[in-house]
Symmetry: C2
Subunit: 206 residues, 2 copies
């Protein structure tokens, strides 16, 4: 494939989406970005990486909290004085994502990259989900926590991701119509899902 | 493939999901059911087909209306005296769907078939969506109505389908995690999408 391709991956926590993204990038021989995006953003803006990492978490928690409390309207978010600065940080991160996408083909996991790059003709957007029992097992094996803790973390992090995505875009996180392709990774397994996504990309750009 | 496969397709109105379902069934050499389900249900129950067709529409409209008014709770639906009889009709239809699935491999479009057959080991569930401009064009070309009418119909029918599905299942219509695979049919086109879905089925059952 000669055309530049930008593959974005949204994913449920514990679904294996990050592993799939890495393997897909490797299989296609293109760049992969995840937390690296933050590092890139930090370098571009002159701020240290740590500030970005912390801000990113605060945004998610602050928003999730606000949404949980039912303060879903923009006007009611102002008491959270994190929001303005988080918007600025989101802007820095968006600039970094755009610069990365300009460089060449890549896989980008999370961070609303599908929305930020929505006008790129090479964009294909994916959403990875998985069976709840498999997700719980992945989380336990990754983090060494109990079943109950894993379930709680799974629900909380997905809620944060949805709140973050829905706040910064005009689409709905996890809704089929938001993405080109959404897959339950349990059907073909991690490697089978990677191959299948690759087939999708190849058939589009053939 | 020797195993029995049951492919269910949920779809946005105007997405081409029905055409895709028919072509997929033909391509795999298996049975296809859509409105035929109603005829089957009617035959089984001894009621005439026409009664089912009307009841099906009323269910959707009644529910959509109830949901629109914010009466999303079961208890608040009782003023609509259609509901009890519609539940009975849903039960007849579910029985018909189960009988059809027992007979052998098939494609089933709509009617909560994915939920009704959720315990079938051969089940794979799909959701077809499409770009809004393409959907509007399909609706205009199918029904010979204006752009405005097509847009209104698109929104109304999707709302009905969501209300119907969400009322009779414990899942959310159009949410990625509800289905094994969700695809935007504009990426590969109708025939390309059929081939790609076939690939998914073959890779699972290989």
């Amino acid at each position: 494939m000669d055309a530049k391709i930008i593959l974005t991956i949204g994913r449920q926590f514990g679904s294996g989406g990050r592993e799939i993204g890495k393997k897909l990038a490797k299989s296609l021989g293109i760049a992969y970005y995840d937390k690296e995006l933050l590092a890139e953003a930090a370098k571009e803006s002159g701020l240290c990486e740590d500030v970005f990492a912390k801000a990113d978490e605060r945004t998610s928690h602050g928003l999730a909290y606000a949404f949980n409390m039912g303060f879903a309207y923009m006007g009611m978010l102002t008491p959270y004085n994190d929001v303005l600065s988080n918007d600025t940080l989101f802007r820095y991160q968006s600039d970094a994502i755009r610069k990365i996408a300009e460089k060449g083909s890549c896989v980008l996991v999370g961070r609303c990259a599908d929305y930020i790059l929505r006008d790129d003709p090479g964009l294909m957007s994916f959403f990875i989900h998985n069976r709840p029992d498999i997700r719980v097992q992945r989380i336990i094996s990754d983090l060494g926590i109990t079943v109950e803790e894993a379930k709680e973390k799974m629900a909380k992090i997905d809620k944060s991701r949805a709140a973050y995505y829905n706040y910064y875009t005009n689409k709905t996180w996890g809704m089929s119509s938001t993405y080109d392709l959404s897959i339950d990774a349990s059907v073909l397994g991690i490697d089978g899902t990677v191959d299948f996504m690759k087939t999708f990309v190849e058939r589009k750009f053939k």
